[in-house]
Subunit: 309 residues, 2 copies
């Protein structure tokens, strides 16, 4: 399964989709838990502590997220920490983001940095360095990163290089889970079809020579689980891509809605849930870890059943 | 000129485009200097120091960028620190970004955080908090932020609120300066026109009720100076928007190419140059500040002449 991208290097680098496929089969799970820490939604004790200031909140975010990581690690293949919630606390928050990513990787979880970056030239190279390239002697911050395709193919190049050289993965936004995405993504093109379908074609092309032994590409796509018909269509437009499907739970999507996404195999789609898992316990309760673990287990089983694996 | 958005609050908040117009008229300049620190391109002494490690590089970035700020402050209306180059150094780099932004604001420069963020719902709110909202007792990190429009109108809402409540500005990507942008931005639509023209129309609508006393909106647009025809067309599609025009200098654009952008007045367009200013001195020289100041002055005068102000 492990495709050694650097047969002569000291450290063997495994293709992202092969690492993912291995984890999916081993854990019998396609669940990704989104880490979206928000002060107001934390369990009561932690919330009170976090309200003291930004540095305190950053420290609480680390404790909260690491608690979630411990609880969901047996049931999820990956966590998806959302950079924005950490950035809102400034550099202290970014430091917390780094700690949470490292903790999750050590806990046998893949880390998908939800950063939705997109820029050009040397700037895109800097973002690739920030998220998916080794940092000196340290490993990359994350296994994969979400990207915005608006700036086109050359803006993706440094990330494709990281896929090739460092076993990174990327997930390009294609059809997002929010209603407003239609403003841009659903405009119809002169040749027929909507913009997001055109972007899906680009994503397919970008990932076409980055397919691992698993048959899946290191270049995946984000498609909102809130649009089941589009998920099925994305599957046929992107036969080799891992589809990352957010919008399950708090946003209203259900696992059964996305069953067609698994036509590419058990690791062909990842179902992402955030708030419904990490805030599974009410604010009045203390044991948020147990509640998150139970909800992750329940959801992982439901998705596994739907996937036909 | 100053439009008080909060007539009853203790601190008067001035509309972003009014602050900008004031600065343009006062400094007789539409120059924005991009702060793109890259270790390999630093003057020799600084480079050697920065090569010691990420923390050292972050510290050098602060010193280098603050030196540039001192040198260009009389000639530029704004600096545009590029978040990616700081993020590439991890949380230490983000701390440096915060220091550079604060230093530039204290030096009478507007700060446009070049972050190209774009996300939905509570995540978009977190990004607005990170970049353009007051941070507790501290002012916002930046006066304005660049945003990616792929996720549509609802993804912009928290930023529009920040424009309204806190005098923030935003610059939406419309037509980017790189060749690959065409992959997505230049596709033709069924109703005629290209995608970026459709996005320009959206940006116009999003900013239509955020026009200040200056006649300009707090919602601006990024249009690459490398595409002069598109710049002129964007001007007519976006009569109230401040156009932020990157791509002058190292990327090949020239001030004369973008003259039509000033049809909306002297503050209707900002010309952004990065490498050609901050690395105006060769690596062998020491006085990078003087070289940057001289190039900023030269470029600002050239743009001012072209603007017809």
């Amino acid at each position: 399964m492990a495709q050694d991208l650097h047969p002569r290097s000291a450290v063997a680098v495994t293709h992202f989709a092969d690492r993912l496929t291995d984890a999916v089969e081993r854990k019998r799970s396609q669940l990704v838990v989104g880490l979206d820490p928000v002060v107001e939604q934390l369990p009561r004790g932690l919330r009170r502590e976090a309200e003291a200031g930004r540095a305190e909140a950053a420290s609480v975010f680390v404790r909260f997220c690491c608690g979630i990581v411990d609880a969901v690690a047996p049931h999820a293949v990956a966590v998806k920490p959302q950079s924005a919630f950490f950035e809102a606390l400034g550099s202290a928050g970014v430091r917390a983001f780094e700690e949470v990513c490292a903790y999750a990787r050590a806990a046998d979880l893949l880390v998908i940095a939800d950063a939705k970056r997109g820029d050009i030239g040397s700037t895109a190279r800097a973002y690739a360095a920030a998220f998916v390239e080794p940092r000196g002697a340290e490993p990359p911050l994350a296994d994969a990163v979400t990207l915005n395709p608006y700036l086109g193919g050359d803006s993706l190049e440094p990330f494709l290089t990281a896929c090739r050289q460092h076993g990174a993965g990327i997930f390009c936004l294609v059809k997002t889970s929010n209603p407003g995405g239609a403003d841009v993504q659903d405009v119809t093109l002169s040749g027929g079809g909507r913009l997001w379908e055109h972007v899906a074609g680009l994503v397919h092309d970008w990932g076409d020579d980055l397919v691992g032994d698993s048959g899946l590409s290191a270049v995946g796509a984000v498609v909102g689980a809130t649009f089941p018909r589009e998920v099925a269509e994305a599957r046929s437009l992107l036969p080799q891509a891992v589809l990352l499907l957010p919008g399950i739970g708090a946003q209203g999507g259900a696992p059964a809605d996305v069953a067609p996404a698994f036509a590419a195999g058990p690791a062909g789609a990842l179902v992402s849930a955030s708030r419904s898992v990490i805030y599974a316990v009410g604010n009045g309760e203390d044991d948020y870890r147990a509640a998150a673990g139970a909800e992750a287990q329940r959801l992982a089983r439901e998705v596994w059943a739907v996937s036909g694996a």
